[in-house]
Amino acid sequence: MKLILAFIKPFKLDEVGDALKSVGVSGMSVGDISGFGRQSGQTEVYRGAEYEVNFVPKVRLEILVPDELVGPAVEAIVEAARTGEIGDGKIAILEVGDVVRIRTGERGADAV
């Protein structure tokens, strides 16, 4: 089992969600986050005053998947989240020791 962490542009959330469902991913957690990468920050001007955005808003996805779904899930995220512009985001894949479904007590892949 793996935990996929994906950092994507906020407006890509729905597309990525649909893409994950289409490859068989049954659930994910979503969080609003802000940060900087190569995209760095941005500056806007209004009425002569500058407004700096040092941390760019992103969405973080956490997806638990069985090993056989890692490839399709990552591919689905990449395809759906890519705009080709800087700031499209990152994906990290982490090894997971065990998973427990609280309601039933199931463990491992059965609990994913």
Partner: protein, 767 residues
């Protein structure tokens, strides 16, 4: 004195009775009793009375002891997992054994007791010491034991009650509650929260006190009883589905609570909101201090008439907006108007949304409370943070902003898209209210598009220029964009913490700033710049500066400072019908300002006067005042020796210009003479290239002319542009190695034909 139960006798042991109570309570999980409200409480009360009565039989010295139900149990409002408030009233030296006999089996069964052991004197003292104990002991019942003892206790409590008015305490409690929860919550605490059972208990305590001191006491009204029943039903449901004394209607419990009550989640939400609204309004009617200035000692001898309802017929736009701005006072008044049936003609849709719940987890408040909070947040934006308040000042319609906040969700529950319907409803309402057409339009459009910025910011790519274009096209103007921005912020804050945080703020602000920049609002507002310049000018000059700036084009106002304006005014004042020329040294270039009365051909003469005297212009900014006065500003290149243009040269140029204006000199011929004299230095080919494009940011046409450097070419190009009816705003002239690239930003010439213009320019230069 009331016991409210039928005493049982016979075989069952105390344990069996406790089991029976627990079975009654636990059985509720599978089967609701009646509608789940007072009937449930009654069943539990009876079961508990039976338990205590049976336990009491095992107590020695029963003549000196009474078991008294206090608090919620005393009021027969025992919910499934409520504390059982019991007082052992005694007249013995050692009540410990009696108390233990009564309480220990209940503790052993895991029941939560609110217990006390007191003599009559101790009970009276405790009631005197704290209001909380006093109110707990106001509504009691004798469950078992000495009636004489209970009668003495009741007499003492009556005496304490006569001496202590409760209203101050109750108002203060209610005020604290409203400070903690300024707007009704969906996740309401139905017991002790705003609009909850505790407030209704306050009404009961006041009535009980008046009864005890012998005053006429009106009974509770039907609407109070309905609200009480609704709250009790929801509280009981919460206890049953959680299996504990949980009194908060939290998001995850709405479905199970609804199932237990045999309703759907929306119906339960509506039941709760209607009950809380009623409780809230009844409290304000009973205690008008809640919406008035904090009470003084004198005012505690209160006027019970309360706040009188107003008639909708008196409502003007100004009065209505003032009411909205007044917060709780306005909310109460509008609710009274609605209850009086006066709002139906003006805003019939209010009835639908007034008690509408909002079940989505991100909604903190029901619709009505959300609207009032949005108004409050809008007021904070108008009066608070400089970023938002500056935008509100630019919009210059506080009425429009406040009405937009009040009406933005008015389309909910009407069937269909609530934004579109809301826009139509808002327009009709504002017209009925007598708002100015401009306000009607602003409010209607703002309500219609109130989700645009929020949805675009989170669902679309803000780096895509097409997205910005879409929004700009939809809002069609800076004022609506600004209004939507403030409405989005106020609405989001008023929705709840998950809807407004730094993350969302960054997205919405970025979208707004990019759209505003597309409309040209990245520049400061013109009136602010004018004000800054005027305010920093010498006092004697301020009036002149103000009228001068007001009559000058935007580009001028945005590019000058107070010294420039003062200098230009000096030149204009010295102008005697012909022309004026001033020069100042700058870093790397001189600045020359030419003023004139706006005679036809004046700018060509200026260009020719400069060219005839070897003055090379790097940049020209050309401005015409509303009264025709020309104020053109030139950045001038150092001469061929690298030194600034000499005063002698400037003197000759000034003299040539004055002579040209008065018709005494043909500057064109003079330029031609100079061109002939220097022709050997100029390259033979022209390499002429003209391009014409549109500047999207300003709407100006941009004409770029590339050609070999020629003396007098600027005058020729200007001539060609003027003869096409174009207004030159800015000219940038770049000369390198015998080649020049001249760029002109021009306005006017609505019928401009680029091909014709290009031909005219080419012809003028070649000539």
């Amino acid at each position: 004195m009331s016991c409210g139960f039928e005493r049982v006798s016979g075989a069952p042991t105390p344990s069996e009775h406790i089991e029976s109570f627990l079975a009654t309570r636990d059985g509720l999980r599978g089967e609701r009793i009646a509608r789940g409200g007072a009937e449930v409480c009654a069943a539990l009360n009876v079961a508990m009375d039976v338990v205590l009565d049976r336990l009491f039989r095992d107590v020695d010295s029963t003549n000196d002891v009474a078991v008294v139900a206090t608090g919620g149990y005393g009021r027969a409002e025992l919910s499934p997992f409520s504390d059982v408030d019991v007082m052992v009233l005694h007249d013995t030296k050692d009540p410990a054994e009696a108390a233990a006999s009564l309480f220990r089996p209940l503790w052993d069964a895991g029941l939560r007791l609110g217990h006390a052991v007191r003599t009559v004197k101790e009970a009276a003292t405790a009631a005197r010491e704290t209001v909380e104990t006093h109110t707990t002991l106001l509504t009691t019942r004798l469950v078992a034991g000495s009636e004489d003892l209970y009668a003495r206790f009741a007499a003492e409590i009556t005496s304490v009650t006569r001496a202590r008015p409760l209203t101050r305490h109750l108002v203060s409690e209610e005020r604290r509650k409203r400070e903690a929860v300024p707007y009704l919550l969906m996740a309401a605490n139905v017991k002790s929260g705003r609009g909850g059972l505790r407030t209704l208990q306050g009404f009961q305590w006041e009535r009980r006190r008046e009864e005890l001191i012998g005053r006429f006491t009106p009974r509770s009204t039907r609407e109070e009883e309905t609200a009480h029943d609704s709250l009790l039903r929801i509280r009981n449901a919460l206890h049953v589905v959680t299996g504990r004394p949980h009194d908060v209607f939290s998001t995850d419990l709405r479905e199970p609570v609804a199932r237990w009550l045999g309703l759907d989640a929306y119906e339960v939400g509506e039941l709760l909101v209607a009950a809380m609204l009623t409780v809230d309004r009844l409290a304000t009617e009973r205690w008008p201090e809640l919406i008035e200035t904090p009470p003084t000692a004198k005012r505690w001898g209160r006027d019970r008439r309360g706040v009188q309802p107003e008639s909708a017929a008196d409502l003007t736009a100004d009065r209505f907006v003032a009411m909205l701005r007044s917060g709780e006072q306005g909310r109460f008044t509008i609710d009274r108007i609605y209850e009086g049936g006066h709002l139906a003609d003006l805003l019939p849709e209010w009835g639908t949304i007034r008690t509408a719940p909002q079940l989505a987890p991100f909604h903190e408040h029901p619709v009505e409370a959300h609207l009032w909070r949005t108004i409050s947040e809008m007021k904070n934006l108008i009066d608070g943070d400089s970023h938002y308040s500056a935008i509100a000042a630019e919009i210059d319609s506080d009425s429009g902003l406040i009405l937009s906040a009040f009406l933005h969700d008015i389309g909910k529950g009407q069937g269909g898209d609530h934004s579109i319907l809301g826009g139509e409803i808002a327009a009709s309402f504002c017209v009925r209210l007598g708002c100015e057409p401009e306000v009607v339009s602003l409010v209607s459009e703002a309500v219609h598009h109130h989700l645009l910025l929020s949805q675009t910011a989170t669902r679309r790519d803000l780096d895509d220029p097409a997205v910005i274009d879409d929004v700009v096209e939809t809002v069609d103007g800076l004022r609506l964009l600004q209004t939507l921005y403030l409405l989005t912020v106020a609405d989001s804050i008023a929705t709840g913490p998950t809807m407004w945080n730094t993350w969302k703020q960054t997205l919405v602000r970025t979208l707004f700033l990019r759209c505003a920049a597309r409309i040209g609002a990245d520049k400061p507002p013109r009136d602010l710049i004018e004000q800054l310049v005027v305010d920093t000018g010498p006092t004697r000059r301020r009036a002149g500066m103000e009228s001068h700036l007001a009559a000058m084009p935007d580009e001028y106002v945005r590019s000058v400072n107070v010294d420039d304006v003062s200098w230009h005014l000096d030149l204009i004042e010295a102008l005697s019908g012909d022309a004026g020329l001033g020069v100042r040294e700058g870093e790397g270039a001189q600045t020359a300002v030419v003023v004139g009365a706006g005679q036809p051909g004046f700018r060509r003469w200026v260009a020719e006067s400069f060219a005839a005297n070897g003055i090379d212009v790097l940049e020209a900014r050309m401005h015409s005042r509303e009264d025709g006065i020309i104020v053109d500003i030139f950045q001038v290149r150092d001469d061929v020796t690298g030194a600034p243009v000499s005063e002698t040269k400037w003197g000759r140029a000034r003299a040539d210009l004055v002579a040209a204006v008065s018709g005494d000199l043909d500057t064109g011929s003079k330029v031609a003479e100079r061109a002939a004299a220097y022709s050997s230095r100029e390259s033979s080919g022209l390499d002429l290239e003209v391009s014409i494009s549109l500047d999207n940011a300003t709407g100006d046409t941009v004409i770029t002319v590339k050609c070999a450097d020629r003396i007098g070419r600027l005058a020729k190009i200007l001539d060609a542009l003027f003869s096409s009816g174009l207004e030159i705003r800015l000219a940038k002239l770049d000369s390198r190695g015998g080649q020049v690239v001249d760029t002109f930003h021009v306005g006017g010439g609505a019928e401009l034909n680029p091909a014709v213009l290009e031909d005219q320019i080419v012809a003028a230069i070649v000539a």
